[in-house]
Structure formats: C-alpha cells, structure tokens
Symmetry: C2
C-alpha cells in the first residue's frame, strides 16, 4: 500500500487532505506528491519485472532474428531497471520480495491484459504501458527524499527500449495493410488499464473521494505523452 501526502500539507495528515477549504485547493501536480519510498520502489520494481516478462515473450515469439536481437536489448533495459530498483530496496534495508508481493496480483493481471492477441499487439502493449508508467514513476520520484529520488529518476530514464519498439512497430505498420487501424484501437484500449495502475500507486487502497479530481492534471500529462507516442507511429490516439 503506497501512502502519499501533499508536499505542502502536514506530514501528520497523509495523502491529499490539506487543511484548507475545498474551494481554496489548487489541483496538485507531480511536484506536490510525496510517495512512501519503500512501497514506491516495490511497485516500480515489480512493474519493471512484468515489463521484462512481456519483452522476453516478444523476444521468444519474434518473427526474425533481427527483431529478436533488437528486443533482447530492450528486455535487458527493463531487467536492469528492475535490478537497480531491487538494489534501492536493499539499500532501504527491506526484503524486496516481501515489498513487491502486495503489488503482484494487480500487476500480473495488468500484464496479461496488455499482452494482446498477437506479437504486434504485444509490442504496442509494452510500448504504451512502459512509456506511460516509466514516465509516471520517474516524475513521481521527484517527491522522494532527494538522493534516492535522483537515483530512481536516472534508473527509470535509461533509454533504449522505446526506440526498438517504435522501430519494430513502425516497420510492421508500413508493411501490413490494416494493422494501423487495429493497433490504433488496441492502443486506445490500453490507456484505461494503465491509468488504473498509475492511480493505484497514488492511492494505495484508499476509497474513492475527491482525489480523482485533484490529481487529474497528473493524468492529463500522461495522456498527452501517450498521444505523442501514438502519433509517432502514425496511429490515432
């Protein structure tokens, strides 16, 4: 369970409940959110492990050695992110497996739900979900204690995977008639599940409240990035 507080609020009043009247409440953005480091790292680490699993599945089912080779590099990036986050958990003095465990069921379901019906949907699923979530967690890392936040941002900023996925998808879309329409639809359907995972990182097990409205700007940025990512593939988001 990730506990959050608004940075400007009292640390004794967790989450987004500043003691001001609702009408005075500005909407929060990324810089105002304060994640609980251990839970943040645990969820981020497990998400990278699941991204790795989908990338490894893409390697195993790639239609050519060339694609296999490119995707193996992308899988390596996800795995390095995972292991670097695990190292951060150990630095916090906790047992990574125990910290990750509560996030496993929802993340496993998420991975299955975004793996798609064939190799192309699998690739777009990875591209869209890791694109949004890496960015999301990297921005939220701004609210972690200074040093760990910097390290986490550097970990999550490692490039290399998106380029491979974009190249493979771009090539397939150019070659296969009808694939663009199918993938555009699929891309749109991925957004909802991905935002739910992002929101779970913010809310933990909290019941729904005016929270959704407060953090809306956070999600607006994620969706804008998603649109740019789809545009780059010539797909309507």
């Amino acid at each position: 369970m990730v506990l959050w507080s608004a940075r400007r609020g009292s640390r004794e009043t967790p989450r987004l409940r500043p003691r001001v009247a609702p009408t005075d409440l500005a909407r929060v953005d990324f810089t105002e959110l304060v994640p609980e480091p251990v839970a943040f790292l645990g969820q981020a680490a497990y998400i990278q492990l699941e991204a790795f699993e989908n990338l490894a599945r893409a390697v195993a089912t790639a239609p050519s050695i060339d694609s296999k080779e490119g995707l193996s590099a992308a899988a390596g990036v996800a795995l390095r992110k995972h292991h670097a986050l695990i190292a951060e958990l150990r630095r916090e003095g906790v047992e990574p497996v125990e910290v990750m465990a509560p996030f496993a069921p929802a993340t496993d379901r998420f991975r299955e739900a975004t793996a798609g019906a064939d190799w192309y949907e699998l690739l777009l699923g990875i591209h869209v979900t890791t694109g949004m979530l890496d960015d999301f967690f990297a921005r939220l890392a701004a609210g972690l204690p200074h040093e760990v936040g910097d390290r986490v941002r550097r970990i999550l900023d490692e490039q290399g995977a998106a380029e491979v996925l974009q190249r493979e998808l771009g090539r397939a879309i150019a070659e296969q008639r009808g694939l663009a329409d199918r993938l555009a639809l699929w891309g749109r359907s991925l957004v909802g599940d991905t935002l739910l995972i992002a929101r779970s990182a913010l809310r933990g097990a909290e019941p729904s409240g005016r929270f959704d409205e407060d953090v809306e700007p956070v999600f607006t940025e994620l969706i804008a990035d998603h649109t740019r990512r789809m545009d780059a593939l010539g797909l309507t988001a």
Copy 2:
C-alpha cells in the same frame, strides 16, 4: 559453419587433418583446437540468447515471487553474455544477426528439446545445458587469437546463474517426493543433445570421419563436469 584446425597442423589444411600417419596422431584436447573467431562468436552468442529465452520462460512460470526474482538475475547473466558476445562480433566488423542466422535452426530445436515438460525440468534443462556449453565454449576460447580469447573467457565465466538454478532445484528436490528420480532420468537424456551442439561447433558441416575419435577427450571432460553438476543436486548422472 565453423571451421577448425588442429593448432599444430598447417593452417592451409583446416580441421583435424595433420599430415601424419593416423597411428602417430595423439588425441586432441581443448588446447589444440583453433576455432574460426566469427563463427565461434556467432554460435556462442546465439546459444546465450536461447539460454536467456528459457530462463525468461522460467521467470514467467515461476511458482513464487522469490523464485521469479532469483531467476530474473540468472536471465540477466545470460543476456549480458549474449550482448557481450554481440559486441565482440561488431568488433570483428561483421553483422551479428547474419553470423548467428545459420546457427538458429539447430539451436532453436535444441532449446525446445531441452525445455522439459514442466518448470522443474525446464530448470534442470537450463542448468545442465548452459553448464556444459558455457564451459565448452570457454575452454575452446583458448584457441582464439589471444586478446579476443581472453575477453570471451571472461564473458563466459560470469557466475551467478548456476547458483540460482542449483538452489531452486535443490529446494524442489528436497520438498517433492519422486522428483529426484524423474530429474535424474531427464538429466541423462539432456547429455546427448548437448554433446551434439558442442560437436556441431567443432565440425561445422563436416561429414563424419575419424574426427569423433580424435576429440573424444574433449567430451570426456564435459561429461565429467556434468556428473559433478548432477552429484551436487544428489542426482545420479
């Protein structure tokens, strides 16, 4: 196709055909074999990629997060070996995908044949085949030009995967009645396929000759290592 020659033979006469009468011919050992660097690196790199695929499959199907986490580290080791060998191919000025391609069909079949019927057989399949082949290619690297040979040995010597596999297998064997017998049988059945891959590295597409007899000591060492590996698990080789 990997071309080999006996180190002591003329370089104009490739493979194991020294110009001496058969009766004078001592049996070759690892130090006398001279692999053709590009083909050697291509086959070794592709074998690591396939080992990675099986490890990633083991990660995806692991029965617990703890096992998943351990195996993800082992998958990372195989992936690093693969990418380091790819870097060596680039250093040789060749396109890695083209060099690996001829080895893909046999290696793909080998991976499938050694993946087993369940997670435990998959783990033993990886443990036995990567154990034998990493060792085999590391020893043969002694015949490569000095610098590249040293680098390749260091690449292949990276530890970490075998320990994880041994721990997981040891735990399962201790817990599950009857598993030891089944895995002992499975381990024995893996040796033949693995030796065929090793032999293909020595022989390329060469027709069978007195070659088998000459390189027998090479395989004797591999089999002795295999026996030690099975012993460590309490399995009869």
